[in-house]
Point group: C2
Chain length 322, copies 2
């Protein structure tokens, strides 16, 4: 059986988006439910998702384990797995990790771009690695079955997390920096350590993570996938598109600046281009998986390898979470 | 006019304690109102203090500027200034700094022992210094008039804070490590940088910060004060006793472990001595100021210098806060 999985989306959720994901044949999507929300605000997001599940029960349902990916395949639906892009909902309370797990959280970034209580983000000047609280949190996440996601973390923190975690970790949405040297992309050294620990890299389709941004060519992306497979192996690669369909620019501003800055940070954008960047034409939404399939074939991957990259690797990774 | 100021106490507050502070002749006390409380919990502490002020209005009132120290002197009362030993009440929201200022917060530690969103605590393995959010917070604290207190912070973070802050900072309660090499005490290098920026060091009477702990001799303490005065100058020294009168041991356990640890941290104590340490006999409460006066005289300080150390220096520092 082959599965198609997009392991990171943060769209403005609507029936239209769920339908697009179905049209793309996605059996599972890891969705970001919170960035900087605290615990109570996370519960509000869960309530919103409960409505989505109720109103679109013919298209989606909440996924909690790999079995829900199998179920989704059988029922022609998409299993939605909850994840956090910052650790804000657990506040300073180890006990809240179990609470968010019970509500379905299966992925949690230890940091967004800045320093958190757990680790250092990739936009800080200095990286002190995983903190005292971070070590306790990793242990608890391992115990429960929440994946440690280091997509937005700094390098030493990520290497620490790989080292400390008893289970493989994930970088759900980023690309290798050898291809495009953005702060959010990852070094060869880090990718090798990730792969050695059986961790997963979800390749991103967000324009700021792509060589030539919006103008990135499908060929260039697929060449990068081939080179990355040489570094990490074809079993450790998946897709985490980072699609933010229909989100207004106010959302990316909040993602970057939360409530902690008077000085505006433009993240991977710039003062001239502060908003969400335009997607490349061959991946405007998840239906672009079809183009990836074509491109990966052209670059020389065989069908089995393509199926791994487009979902089977994530499916196998999910099997090891709990 | 001479003022007597204890610039750090965290007692189990009661009329008895306020009376002791009056008997000691204290014109002002900087009290810790929160450690790890969030903003709403801070408001609860303020409500509790409102009751203390109402019920003990013959002994205490809330201080908000140096003028309240003068008023306290005139009225034979003690002005109580609010401070935080962690930045938890401002959560991840720069806007809350003005809110806590309005409620009377005049000192805030950027960290307790662990990593915070603003800086690194002295119990972390690595110290990445003041964070992106920390830089914004310092600017805001400077603007409003909240003193940056680095008593529990790691060295690089403290040097960063001295460097970044446009106003002198304080270490309200710690001792020099040349005398007693505890994690919480401070290096000569740091003390020199502090003094050069007109910052204040409040000398601590907490047994874990003292050479020989509970058995520390008054002579030894006063010798340390004399040597420290040689390093930082007699104008940059005050007292921050760190008195925790009548607090149960459950409080020190919470201070050290909050809600973020399954593995118990004993802080400056140990598994065998997990509780609050006993005070030395010559400083069981603030009435020990009298003994300090005697000891400092004996070691060779003149009356003017003693008055500076026991309060006038803090009074002058308060003049520069707003």
């Amino acid at each position: 059986m082959n599965y198609k999985i997009d392991n990171l989306q943060y769209c403005k959720w609507s029936r239209e988006v769920f339908q697009i994901n179905r049209d793309a044949g996605l059996d599972a999507v890891h969705v970001t439910v919170v960035y900087h929300e605290d615990y109570d605000e996370f519960l509000d997001r869960v309530t919103e998702w409960d409505s989505h599940f109720k109103e679109n029960s013919d298209l989606i349902f909440q996924g909690k384990s790999f079995k829900d990916i199998e179920k989704a395949k059988k029922e022609n639906k998409t299993a939605i797995f909850f994840g956090f892009q910052n650790c804000s909902p657990i506040e300073d309370d180890l006990g809240l990790i179990e609470k968010v797990y019970e509500k379905g959280c299966r992925f949690m970034q230890l940091t967004y771009n800045n320093q958190s209580l757990l680790a250092t983000g990739c936009y800080e000047k200095n990286d002190s690695g995983v903190t005292n609280f971070g070590k306790e949190a990793i242990k608890e996440m391992n115990r429960l079955g929440i994946v440690i996601d280091m997509s937005h973390s700094a390098e030493k923190s990520t290497l620490d997390a790989i080292d400390i975690s008893q289970k493989p970790i994930a970088i759900t949405h980023a690309n290798p920096s050898f291809w495009h040297n953005a702060l959010r992309n990852k070094s060869d050294k880090l990718l090798k350590a990730l792969a050695k620990s059986n961790g997963m890299l979800g390749l991103s389709l967000y324009a700021h993570h792509l060589k030539d941004g919006t103008n990135c060519k499908l060929e260039s992306f697929c060449e990068m996938v081939a080179k990355t497979a040489e570094i990490v192996g074809v079993d450790n690669l998946g897709i985490g598109s980072d699609l933010c369909l229909n989100q207004p620019d106010s959302v990316v501003e909040w993602m970057r600046n939360g409530t902690w800055a008077n000085t505006q940070n433009f993240g991977e954008g710039s003062k001239k281009k502060p908003g969400f960047p335009k997607q490349p034409g061959w991946f405007v939404d998840a239906r672009g998986f079809k183009n990836l399939e074509i491109g990966l074939k052209k670059i020389g991957f065989n069908v089995g390898e393509i199926n791994k990259i487009l979902g089977n690797n994530w499916y196998n990774f999910y099997k090891g979470i709990n």
